[in-house]
Symmetry: C2
Subunit: 473 residues, 2 copies
């Protein structure tokens, strides 16, 4: 059993705007509604379930590269709907805000693909329409097919992508934090003055990758900068997360790997002058829960009948870069020890580095829940293990993936949430305010220790400095 620190557990529903995400083939299960992914009703229903369960948010993964490593083509990906087709999650957010009151919405958008000036306006639009409930999962896309689709040629090298990302973030921080002073907006009907032009500043950015000159086209929104998610796992990626992220998404099936990754990123943040506890870590998790252990195990067995082994291998092939098409399912995979606690099978992180896996076993392992653990059991068993992960790895919550939509979340909300609430480790009511306020219990804006705060202007900057000083005392 865990040491039960009693840290509050955060939950996001982890999804993508496609018929299938991390459990290939399960869209074919008779109870699954994922084929309705292209309707508002499907998502509104899921948002309502999530808010009923007091989830912190819906978190949409996104990308525009096909699964094209397996067999050297995207055929398996198209046949099996492997995160394909996939639509733009930003366009769902306002409609989801309309049917909920507190739920947050984290959308993935790529700094490689979206022009920063227009993207900044998009996120401000969403922060307005949701009244401050929007987050941004920052990604630097690695797929060649997405890059070619945009006419950018093959994907750029890993570290260069992060350099571009740093430049991109400076642009959007300037727009969100520095273009409008806090008291720029007057909305004064008597003098017909909407805003004071002397307090609305042209942003001039002459970076290595972006050159921008313009005012931000949105007045200040509740959060200004949306809540920042990131998922860097390489050294360079962790540096980026340590500098920018408020929430970090981690995925691995082993506590050792997660614990080391969390500690490493927190340490990097501290070195940059940020409070390491200001970063909240969400871990990928899939839960199959039943009223009895037998019921839960029966569900797992039932679900396994609908998985797609081809889909599982095609997902794995792209994540690892190793094409497993046409290989013997009984063939054992090669190991490669890598840095720190991390061990990999041909690029894939696994729980037990001493175990020899065959390709067939891997397909089965990878067929439900992707790289994260899958918990199968009663509400009490699931809650026990979730608390163990919290206590032993220093994470702050979970990005909860699914086997069936929306059934997995209905099950979790009906069975696991009350158990967590009973244990006092899960909120019974939402906090008031923006997504950032709900998560941190502080103000709606980034803390003064975040690098974006350096771009604030005028009275705004001064007020923030004072507020930060007050907090320190």
């Amino acid at each position: 059993m865990s040491k039960k620190t009693g840290k509050e557990i955060r939950i996001n529903a982890f999804v993508t705007f496609a018929p299938s995400h991390l459990s290939p083939g399960l869209w074919s299960h008779p109870q699954d509604k994922s084929l309705d992914y292209n309707t508002l009703e499907f998502w509104s229903n899921l948002a309502r379930v999530a808010e009923q369960g007091k989830y912190d948010g819906l978190f949409w993964a996104d990308g525009i590269s096909t699964y094209d490593v397996y067999g050297g083509s995207h055929d398996a990906g198209i046949r099996g709907a492997l995160q394909f087709p996939r639509l733009d999650p930003l366009l769902l957010v306002a409609a989801m805000a309309q049917v909920t009151e507190h739920l947050g919405f984290a959308v993935t958008s790529s700094v490689t693909y979206e022009p920063p000036y227009l993207f900044a306006r998009r996120m401000s639009t969403l922060d307005q329409l949701t009244r401050g409930r929007v987050g941004w999962n920052i990604v630097t896309s690695f797929g060649d097919s997405g890059s070619k689709a945009l006419g950018l040629g093959p994907s750029k090298p890993h570290d260069l992508r992060y350099e571009i990302a740093d430049d991109y973030l400076d642009v959007v921080y300037k727009l969100w934090e520095g273009s409008w002073e806090n008291d720029a907006v007057k909305r004064d009907r008597a003098t017909k003055t909407f805003a004071d032009p002397s307090k609305v500043h042209v942003i001039r950015h002459e970076g290595p990758h972006y050159q921008i000159e313009g005012v931000h086209f949105s007045e200040p929104t509740p959060q200004r900068t949306p809540l920042l998610y990131q998922a860097g796992s390489s050294g360079r990626g962790k540096d980026f997360a340590a500098r920018h992220a408020e929430c970090v998404f981690v995925s691995a099936p082993s506590k050792n790997i997660i614990r080391a990754s969390v500690a490493d990123t927190r340490q990097r943040a501290a070195q940059l002058g940020r409070n390491p506890e200001d970063i909240l870590f969400f871990m990928l998790l899939t839960v199959i829960v039943g009223r009895t252990e037998a019921e839960a195990k029966a569900k797992l067995e039932d679900y396994r009948r609908y998985v797609s082994p081809e889909g599982a291998l095609a997902l794995f092939s792209r994540w690892s870069g190793v094409d497993l098409a046409g290989r013997d399912v009984n063939e054992p995979l090669q190991y490669a020890k890598s840095e720190g606690m991390q061990s990999t099978i041909e690029g894939f992180t696994v729980a037990d580095p001493d175990r020899v896996w065959t390709i067939g076993e891997l397909a089965q392992h990878n067929a439900i829940g992707g790289k994260g653990p899958v918990l199968v059991g009663t509400p009490e068993q699931v809650a026990d293990i979730m608390q163990e992960w919290m206590d032993e790895t220093d994470i702050d919550g979970f990005n909860l993936s699914y086997t069936l939509l929306p059934q997995s979340h209905i099950d979790f909300v009906e069975l696991v949430v009350p158990e967590l609430q009973k244990r006092g480790v899960y909120k019974k009511e939402y906090r008031a305010g923006t997504l950032r306020e709900k998560l941190y219990g502080a103000g709606p804006r980034l803390p003064d220790t975040h690098p974006a705060a350096a771009f604030r202007r005028g009275a705004d900057a001064a007020a923030d400095a004072l507020a930060a000083a007050a907090e320190i005392q």
Copy 2:
């Protein structure tokens, strides 16, 4: 009185995602709710009013250039909220679809600013979520400040912008019409086959401005290509509209100008092998209606007290390129005769080319309703003049601007719509189906004579050719 051809009148509410559009200063009127532009409730309410009035759609103008010609700065534009701040209309559409059943949504997006591959996915996402109720107003942005904000330097020359636009449209047509064959999607749970990869095609485009290689990330949507709006008024612009547009937005205060422009564009479309009647023309119009003529005139007088003369001149200065700041309001403006029926005052089209206007008069003329006519009167008077414009200029309907939001549309729906319905020139019920079906009474997709149809593939292309042949017989 008009000859009363009885052609059905189409109506869009013409708006922008900002506190002010074409009637500067009127956001300061106590009845106006435009300061709530940044809330979902404001737009949902307007969408419901529009659907109650059986409008064809909401039409959002958009742009990211400030009004910065007047006085050589954007100060007047920021002070008076001249289409600034302005948010991204695409992000409203799904929420508006959620509160309506039939209303269409035309969003403006610039081919100069938005990468075509990602834009195609956005529009497909909206066509899915709205079940085929989305339209695209194609613009080639001319503002320098928007272009600089994106790091593109000064705005490109007019004709080059249209060349780029043609290339852009070929890209998005290929993605929308040519990437997925009609029978590519199987959604077959038994065989776990979502789609047949042999019927999903990689688009390869090697154009002068865009190089793209990829599959479209959306399965076929109800309309495939969204309903296409355009507003070209130059010769090159009309050629572009004649080639691509299904609906054309025209704005001028004179029947002669509108009649000539409509005829010219229809003729160009015919020369390109399209049916000239397939293009529907919507004219900019503002209506101030009262139960009596006196009531209507009193409204106008009331509204005039809230207009912003500075705002009117700043709008005019940007549209004409002539900075009117600091000039005497009694100064007469110079004329410049231009091609055809068109006459201009320093770039601005006016109704009566023989009238001498002072700067002060122009400010007043331009303070309500922009370049379009303003009708003030009883429902009968307004309906009479609307029918006159229909009959005498060959337009198909109106983009209806407002003085107050949502009051102008509430007034129009309560007073004018029943009068038009009584006369048999306005629908009493919506047609079933997509926006394209509602407007044309034919199928959900572009007709075979449209250039986008050339990009169809496989059985899809063959079926379309057969359908087109059947229609001809």
